[in-house]
Symmetry: C2
Subunit: 196 residues, 2 copies
Protein backbone atom coordinates (compact mmCIF):
# COMPACT_ATOMS: atom_id res chain seq x y z
CA UNK A 1 0.00 0.00 0.00
CA UNK A 2 1.38 3.40 -0.99
CA UNK A 3 1.70 5.68 2.04
CA UNK A 4 0.31 8.81 0.39
CA UNK A 5 -2.46 7.54 -1.89
CA UNK A 6 -6.16 8.21 -1.33
CA UNK A 7 -6.61 4.77 0.26
CA UNK A 8 -3.83 5.34 2.82
CA UNK A 9 -5.25 8.79 3.44
CA UNK A 10 -8.74 7.44 4.11
CA UNK A 11 -7.34 4.80 6.46
CA UNK A 12 -5.42 7.48 8.38
CA UNK A 13 -8.54 9.64 8.72
CA UNK A 14 -10.57 6.67 9.95
CA UNK A 15 -7.90 5.48 12.37
CA UNK A 16 -7.97 8.73 14.37
CA UNK A 17 -11.62 8.11 15.29
CA UNK A 18 -12.00 6.97 18.90
CA UNK A 19 -12.49 3.22 19.02
CA UNK A 20 -10.87 2.53 15.65
CA UNK A 21 -7.24 1.37 15.58
CA UNK A 22 -5.12 0.97 12.44
CA UNK A 23 -6.37 -2.57 11.80
CA UNK A 24 -10.08 -1.82 12.08
CA UNK A 25 -9.56 1.41 10.10
CA UNK A 26 -8.11 -0.68 7.26
CA UNK A 27 -11.07 -3.07 7.37
CA UNK A 28 -13.55 -0.17 7.54
CA UNK A 29 -11.91 1.58 4.57
CA UNK A 30 -12.04 -1.57 2.44
CA UNK A 31 -15.66 -2.21 3.39
CA UNK A 32 -16.58 1.37 2.54
CA UNK A 33 -14.85 1.22 -0.85
CA UNK A 34 -16.36 -2.12 -1.77
CA UNK A 35 -19.86 -0.92 -0.78
CA UNK A 36 -19.90 2.59 -2.19
CA UNK A 37 -23.64 2.89 -2.72
CA UNK A 38 -24.68 1.06 0.42
CA UNK A 39 -22.18 2.48 2.88
CA UNK A 40 -19.76 5.10 1.61
CA UNK A 41 -22.10 7.61 -0.03
CA UNK A 42 -24.69 7.34 2.80
CA UNK A 43 -21.87 7.97 5.30
CA UNK A 44 -20.68 11.03 3.36
CA UNK A 45 -24.25 12.35 3.28
CA UNK A 46 -24.75 11.66 7.00
CA UNK A 47 -21.50 13.45 7.84
CA UNK A 48 -22.32 16.46 5.68
CA UNK A 49 -25.82 16.69 7.11
CA UNK A 50 -24.61 16.40 10.69
CA UNK A 51 -21.93 19.05 10.09
CA UNK A 52 -24.61 21.37 8.79
CA UNK A 53 -27.43 20.82 11.26
CA UNK A 54 -25.99 19.74 14.61
CA UNK A 55 -25.35 22.67 16.93
CA UNK A 56 -24.37 23.09 20.57
CA UNK A 57 -27.35 23.91 22.80
CA UNK A 58 -26.70 27.41 24.24
CA UNK A 59 -28.46 26.41 27.47
CA UNK A 60 -26.97 23.08 28.53
CA UNK A 61 -24.10 22.42 26.12
CA UNK A 62 -25.58 19.26 24.55
CA UNK A 63 -25.60 18.73 20.78
CA UNK A 64 -28.87 18.64 18.86
CA UNK A 65 -30.44 19.82 15.62
CA UNK A 66 -32.86 22.13 17.42
CA UNK A 67 -31.86 25.11 19.58
CA UNK A 68 -32.33 24.93 22.51
CA UNK A 69 -31.97 21.16 22.52
CA UNK A 70 -34.95 18.82 22.89
CA UNK A 71 -34.49 18.31 26.62
CA UNK A 72 -34.04 22.02 27.42
CA UNK A 73 -37.14 22.90 25.41
CA UNK A 74 -39.23 20.01 26.79
CA UNK A 75 -41.80 21.60 29.11
CA UNK A 76 -42.46 18.31 30.89
CA UNK A 77 -38.92 18.09 32.35
CA UNK A 78 -38.45 19.02 36.00
CA UNK A 79 -36.37 22.21 36.02
CA UNK A 80 -35.76 22.00 39.76
CA UNK A 81 -33.29 19.10 39.41
CA UNK A 82 -30.20 19.54 37.25
CA UNK A 83 -27.81 16.71 36.46
CA UNK A 84 -24.23 17.74 35.60
CA UNK A 85 -22.52 15.29 33.22
CA UNK A 86 -19.10 15.26 31.59
CA UNK A 87 -20.13 14.33 28.05
CA UNK A 88 -23.17 13.92 25.85
CA UNK A 89 -22.66 10.14 25.81
CA UNK A 90 -23.06 10.19 29.60
CA UNK A 91 -26.31 12.17 29.19
CA UNK A 92 -27.53 9.57 26.67
CA UNK A 93 -26.61 6.75 29.06
CA UNK A 94 -28.75 8.35 31.79
CA UNK A 95 -31.62 8.92 29.35
CA UNK A 96 -31.42 5.30 28.23
CA UNK A 97 -31.56 4.15 31.83
CA UNK A 98 -34.73 6.22 32.19
CA UNK A 99 -36.03 7.43 35.53
CA UNK A 100 -34.42 10.88 35.54
CA UNK A 101 -36.86 13.60 34.45
CA UNK A 102 -34.85 16.69 35.32
CA UNK A 103 -32.60 18.81 33.10
CA UNK A 104 -28.89 18.54 32.30
CA UNK A 105 -25.72 20.51 32.09
CA UNK A 106 -22.98 19.10 29.85
CA UNK A 107 -19.45 20.13 30.85
CA UNK A 108 -17.86 18.82 27.66
CA UNK A 109 -15.26 16.71 29.47
CA UNK A 110 -13.45 16.49 32.79
CA UNK A 111 -10.40 18.31 34.09
CA UNK A 112 -7.23 16.54 33.03
CA UNK A 113 -3.73 17.71 33.80
CA UNK A 114 -2.41 15.09 31.38
CA UNK A 115 -4.48 16.30 28.44
CA UNK A 116 -4.09 19.96 29.43
CA UNK A 117 -7.83 20.43 30.09
CA UNK A 118 -8.33 23.15 32.72
CA UNK A 119 -11.51 24.74 34.09
CA UNK A 120 -11.53 27.21 31.18
CA UNK A 121 -11.99 24.36 28.71
CA UNK A 122 -15.18 23.17 30.40
CA UNK A 123 -18.67 24.61 30.14
CA UNK A 124 -18.47 25.98 33.72
CA UNK A 125 -19.16 29.69 33.13
CA UNK A 126 -22.50 28.86 31.59
CA UNK A 127 -23.33 26.61 34.59
CA UNK A 128 -22.75 29.56 36.95
CA UNK A 129 -24.96 31.78 34.76
CA UNK A 130 -27.72 29.19 34.99
CA UNK A 131 -27.43 29.24 38.79
CA UNK A 132 -28.12 32.97 38.69
CA UNK A 133 -30.87 32.92 36.05
CA UNK A 134 -32.97 29.90 37.05
CA UNK A 135 -31.37 28.20 40.07
CA UNK A 136 -32.52 24.57 40.48
CA UNK A 137 -33.33 23.09 43.86
CA UNK A 138 -30.87 20.24 43.50
CA UNK A 139 -27.74 19.53 41.49
CA UNK A 140 -26.78 15.90 40.87
CA UNK A 141 -23.13 15.46 39.92
CA UNK A 142 -23.03 12.45 37.59
CA UNK A 143 -19.33 12.63 36.79
CA UNK A 144 -17.08 9.64 36.04
CA UNK A 145 -15.82 7.68 39.07
CA UNK A 146 -12.22 8.39 38.02
CA UNK A 147 -9.59 10.63 39.62
CA UNK A 148 -10.18 13.28 36.93
CA UNK A 149 -13.96 12.95 37.24
CA UNK A 150 -13.87 13.33 40.99
CA UNK A 151 -11.52 16.32 40.94
CA UNK A 152 -13.89 17.91 38.43
CA UNK A 153 -16.75 17.20 40.85
CA UNK A 154 -14.81 19.00 43.59
CA UNK A 155 -14.28 22.06 41.41
CA UNK A 156 -17.98 22.16 40.50
CA UNK A 157 -18.97 21.76 44.16
CA UNK A 158 -16.62 24.61 45.17
CA UNK A 159 -18.13 26.82 42.50
CA UNK A 160 -21.70 25.99 43.55
CA UNK A 161 -20.94 26.44 47.26
CA UNK A 162 -22.08 30.06 47.08
CA UNK A 163 -25.61 29.06 46.03
CA UNK A 164 -28.40 27.77 48.21
CA UNK A 165 -29.04 24.34 46.73
CA UNK A 166 -28.67 20.67 47.52
CA UNK A 167 -25.68 19.01 45.83
CA UNK A 168 -25.63 15.22 45.54
CA UNK A 169 -23.41 12.72 43.79
CA UNK A 170 -24.19 9.36 42.19
CA UNK A 171 -23.63 6.52 44.66
CA UNK A 172 -20.57 4.33 44.26
CA UNK A 173 -20.75 0.62 44.92
CA UNK A 174 -21.26 -2.77 43.35
CA UNK A 175 -22.79 -2.74 39.87
CA UNK A 176 -26.08 -4.65 39.69
CA UNK A 177 -25.29 -8.24 38.73
CA UNK A 178 -21.65 -7.74 39.72
CA UNK A 179 -19.77 -10.60 41.35
CA UNK A 180 -17.49 -9.67 44.25
CA UNK A 181 -14.74 -11.86 42.84
CA UNK A 182 -14.54 -9.78 39.66
CA UNK A 183 -14.68 -6.33 41.30
CA UNK A 184 -11.59 -4.20 41.85
CA UNK A 185 -10.50 -3.48 45.42
CA UNK A 186 -11.45 0.21 45.23
CA UNK A 187 -15.06 -0.60 44.37
CA UNK A 188 -15.32 -3.24 47.11
CA UNK A 189 -13.92 -0.85 49.73
CA UNK A 190 -16.25 1.94 48.59
CA UNK A 191 -19.22 -0.43 48.68
CA UNK A 192 -18.24 -1.43 52.24
CA UNK A 193 -17.93 2.15 53.40
CA UNK A 194 -21.20 3.18 51.79
CA UNK A 195 -23.08 0.10 53.08
CA UNK A 196 -26.54 0.66 54.47
Amino acid sequence: MKQDGPLAHLIRQLSILPGLGPRSARRAALTLISKKDDMMFPLVRALTEAAEHIKTCPVCGALDDTLPCRICSDGSRDRSVMCVVATLTDLWAIERAGGFRGIYHVLGGVLSALDGIGPDHLNLGRLEERMQDHPPREIILALPATVDGQSTAHVVMDMLGAYDLKISRLAHGMPIGGELDYLDDGTILTAFQARG
Copy 2:
Protein backbone atom coordinates in the same frame (compact mmCIF):
# COMPACT_ATOMS: atom_id res chain seq x y z
CA MET B 1 -31.52 11.50 21.49
CA LYS B 2 -34.12 11.67 18.74
CA GLN B 3 -34.15 8.48 16.69
CA ASP B 4 -34.46 10.14 13.28
CA GLY B 5 -32.34 13.30 13.53
CA PRO B 6 -29.07 13.85 11.65
CA LEU B 7 -27.06 12.85 14.72
CA ALA B 8 -28.89 9.52 15.12
CA HIS B 9 -28.51 9.00 11.38
CA LEU B 10 -24.74 9.61 11.50
CA ILE B 11 -24.38 7.24 14.45
CA ARG B 12 -26.30 4.54 12.57
CA GLN B 13 -24.09 4.95 9.50
CA LEU B 14 -20.94 4.75 11.61
CA SER B 15 -22.14 1.76 13.62
CA ILE B 16 -22.42 -0.46 10.53
CA LEU B 17 -18.68 -0.12 9.89
CA PRO B 18 -16.80 -3.28 10.82
CA GLY B 19 -15.14 -2.84 14.21
CA LEU B 20 -17.49 -0.08 15.41
CA GLY B 21 -20.37 -1.02 17.70
CA PRO B 22 -23.18 1.32 18.79
CA ARG B 23 -21.16 2.68 21.71
CA SER B 24 -18.01 3.51 19.78
CA ALA B 25 -20.14 4.86 16.90
CA ARG B 26 -21.71 7.31 19.36
CA ARG B 27 -18.30 8.39 20.62
CA ALA B 28 -16.95 8.69 17.07
CA ALA B 29 -19.93 10.80 15.97
CA LEU B 30 -19.53 13.19 18.91
CA THR B 31 -15.79 13.50 18.29
CA LEU B 32 -16.39 14.21 14.61
CA ILE B 33 -19.00 16.87 15.33
CA SER B 34 -16.92 18.58 17.98
CA LYS B 35 -13.85 18.61 15.68
CA LYS B 36 -15.39 19.56 12.37
CA ASP B 37 -12.34 21.21 10.84
CA ASP B 38 -9.78 18.76 12.21
CA MET B 39 -11.65 15.52 11.69
CA MET B 40 -15.05 15.69 10.04
CA PHE B 41 -14.29 17.68 6.90
CA PRO B 42 -10.97 15.86 6.28
CA LEU B 43 -12.85 12.55 6.61
CA VAL B 44 -15.51 13.68 4.14
CA ARG B 45 -12.77 14.74 1.71
CA ALA B 46 -10.88 11.46 2.18
CA LEU B 47 -14.06 9.43 1.57
CA THR B 48 -14.98 11.42 -1.53
CA GLU B 49 -11.48 11.16 -2.92
CA ALA B 50 -11.26 7.43 -2.25
CA ALA B 51 -14.67 6.86 -3.86
CA GLU B 52 -13.44 8.70 -6.93
CA HIS B 53 -9.92 7.33 -7.35
CA ILE B 54 -9.75 3.83 -5.86
CA LYS B 55 -10.42 1.12 -8.43
CA THR B 56 -10.20 -2.65 -8.53
CA CYS B 57 -7.05 -3.89 -10.28
CA PRO B 58 -8.22 -5.83 -13.36
CA VAL B 59 -5.27 -8.23 -13.01
CA CYS B 60 -5.20 -9.32 -9.37
CA GLY B 61 -8.37 -7.88 -7.80
CA ALA B 62 -6.61 -5.60 -5.32
CA LEU B 63 -7.69 -2.00 -4.81
CA ASP B 64 -5.40 0.87 -5.79
CA ASP B 65 -5.46 4.29 -7.40
CA THR B 66 -3.40 3.12 -10.38
CA LEU B 67 -4.48 0.45 -12.86
CA PRO B 68 -3.02 -2.15 -12.87
CA CYS B 69 -2.17 -1.87 -9.18
CA ARG B 70 1.33 -1.01 -7.92
CA ILE B 71 2.32 -4.62 -7.30
CA CYS B 72 1.06 -5.92 -10.66
CA SER B 73 2.87 -3.12 -12.50
CA ASP B 74 6.08 -3.45 -10.46
CA GLY B 75 8.68 -4.98 -12.82
CA SER B 76 10.85 -6.13 -9.92
CA ARG B 77 8.25 -8.60 -8.58
CA ASP B 78 8.75 -12.29 -9.32
CA ARG B 79 5.92 -13.29 -11.64
CA SER B 80 6.68 -17.01 -11.26
CA VAL B 81 5.25 -17.14 -7.71
CA MET B 82 1.65 -16.12 -7.08
CA CYS B 83 0.12 -15.84 -3.64
CA VAL B 84 -3.66 -16.29 -3.44
CA VAL B 85 -5.23 -14.31 -0.56
CA ALA B 86 -8.81 -13.84 0.59
CA THR B 87 -8.78 -10.08 1.14
CA LEU B 88 -6.67 -7.01 0.54
CA THR B 89 -5.97 -6.72 4.28
CA ASP B 90 -4.36 -10.19 4.09
CA LEU B 91 -2.23 -8.97 1.16
CA TRP B 92 -1.17 -5.95 3.22
CA ALA B 93 -0.32 -8.19 6.17
CA ILE B 94 1.99 -10.27 3.96
CA GLU B 95 3.56 -7.11 2.48
CA ARG B 96 4.12 -5.72 5.98
CA ALA B 97 5.80 -8.98 7.01
CA GLY B 98 8.11 -8.54 4.01
CA GLY B 99 10.02 -11.41 2.45
CA PHE B 100 7.52 -12.27 -0.29
CA ARG B 101 8.50 -10.76 -3.65
CA GLY B 102 6.03 -12.56 -5.92
CA ILE B 103 2.64 -11.38 -7.19
CA TYR B 104 -0.85 -11.78 -5.72
CA HIS B 105 -4.37 -12.79 -6.53
CA VAL B 106 -7.12 -11.39 -4.29
CA LEU B 107 -10.25 -13.56 -4.13
CA GLY B 108 -12.31 -10.90 -2.36
CA GLY B 109 -13.38 -13.21 0.49
CA VAL B 110 -13.84 -16.88 1.27
CA LEU B 111 -16.69 -19.27 0.55
CA SER B 112 -19.33 -19.07 3.26
CA ALA B 113 -22.57 -21.01 3.28
CA LEU B 114 -23.73 -18.88 6.20
CA ASP B 115 -23.23 -15.57 4.38
CA GLY B 116 -24.37 -17.00 1.05
CA ILE B 117 -20.97 -16.52 -0.61
CA GLY B 118 -20.48 -19.12 -3.34
CA PRO B 119 -17.69 -19.60 -5.91
CA ASP B 120 -19.38 -17.09 -8.24
CA HIS B 121 -18.92 -14.32 -5.69
CA LEU B 122 -15.14 -14.79 -5.61
CA ASN B 123 -12.55 -13.60 -8.10
CA LEU B 124 -11.97 -17.18 -9.34
CA GLY B 125 -12.68 -16.81 -13.07
CA ARG B 126 -9.95 -14.21 -13.38
CA LEU B 127 -7.54 -16.54 -11.54
CA GLU B 128 -8.17 -19.26 -14.13
CA GLU B 129 -7.61 -16.74 -16.94
CA ARG B 130 -4.29 -15.80 -15.40
CA MET B 131 -3.30 -19.48 -15.36
CA GLN B 132 -3.84 -19.56 -19.11
CA ASP B 133 -2.26 -16.20 -19.96
CA HIS B 134 0.88 -16.15 -17.79
CA PRO B 135 0.98 -19.33 -15.69
CA PRO B 136 3.24 -18.97 -12.62
CA ARG B 137 5.55 -21.75 -11.51
CA GLU B 138 4.10 -21.88 -8.00
CA ILE B 139 0.86 -20.92 -6.30
CA ILE B 140 0.92 -20.23 -2.55
CA LEU B 141 -2.51 -20.45 -0.94
CA ALA B 142 -2.44 -17.97 1.95
CA LEU B 143 -6.07 -18.40 2.98
CA PRO B 144 -7.41 -18.10 6.53
CA ALA B 145 -6.92 -21.13 8.80
CA THR B 146 -10.68 -21.35 9.30
CA VAL B 147 -13.20 -23.92 8.04
CA ASP B 148 -14.38 -21.47 5.36
CA GLY B 149 -10.82 -20.53 4.43
CA GLN B 150 -9.77 -24.14 4.09
CA SER B 151 -12.81 -25.15 2.03
CA THR B 152 -12.02 -22.21 -0.24
CA ALA B 153 -8.44 -23.52 -0.51
CA HIS B 154 -9.81 -26.91 -1.59
CA VAL B 155 -11.96 -25.34 -4.30
CA VAL B 156 -8.99 -23.32 -5.59
CA MET B 157 -6.77 -26.43 -5.55
CA ASP B 158 -9.40 -28.41 -7.48
CA MET B 159 -9.61 -25.64 -10.06
CA LEU B 160 -5.83 -25.44 -10.44
CA GLY B 161 -5.39 -29.22 -10.62
CA ALA B 162 -5.55 -29.06 -14.42
CA TYR B 163 -2.45 -26.87 -14.63
CA ASP B 164 1.16 -27.89 -14.33
CA LEU B 165 2.27 -25.94 -11.28
CA LYS B 166 3.32 -26.40 -7.70
CA ILE B 167 0.63 -25.60 -5.15
CA SER B 168 1.64 -24.94 -1.55
CA ARG B 169 -0.14 -23.70 1.55
CA LEU B 170 1.07 -21.61 4.46
CA ALA B 171 2.27 -23.83 7.32
CA HIS B 172 0.06 -24.17 10.38
CA GLY B 173 1.57 -24.35 13.83
CA MET B 174 2.57 -22.35 16.85
CA PRO B 175 2.80 -18.60 16.33
CA ILE B 176 6.26 -17.19 17.07
CA GLY B 177 6.34 -16.14 20.72
CA GLY B 178 3.28 -18.26 21.43
CA GLU B 179 2.96 -20.10 24.74
CA LEU B 180 1.59 -23.64 24.58
CA ASP B 181 -0.67 -22.94 27.54
CA TYR B 182 -2.51 -20.22 25.63
CA LEU B 183 -2.88 -22.09 22.34
CA ASP B 184 -6.11 -23.80 21.32
CA ASP B 185 -6.12 -27.59 20.98
CA GLY B 186 -6.47 -27.48 17.19
CA THR B 187 -3.27 -25.47 16.80
CA ILE B 188 -1.35 -27.70 19.20
CA LEU B 189 -2.45 -30.87 17.37
CA THR B 190 -1.61 -29.36 13.99
CA ALA B 191 1.79 -28.28 15.27
CA PHE B 192 2.41 -31.83 16.51
CA GLN B 193 1.41 -33.41 13.22
CA ALA B 194 3.49 -30.95 11.19
CA ARG B 195 6.55 -31.26 13.49
CA GLY B 196 9.91 -31.54 11.84
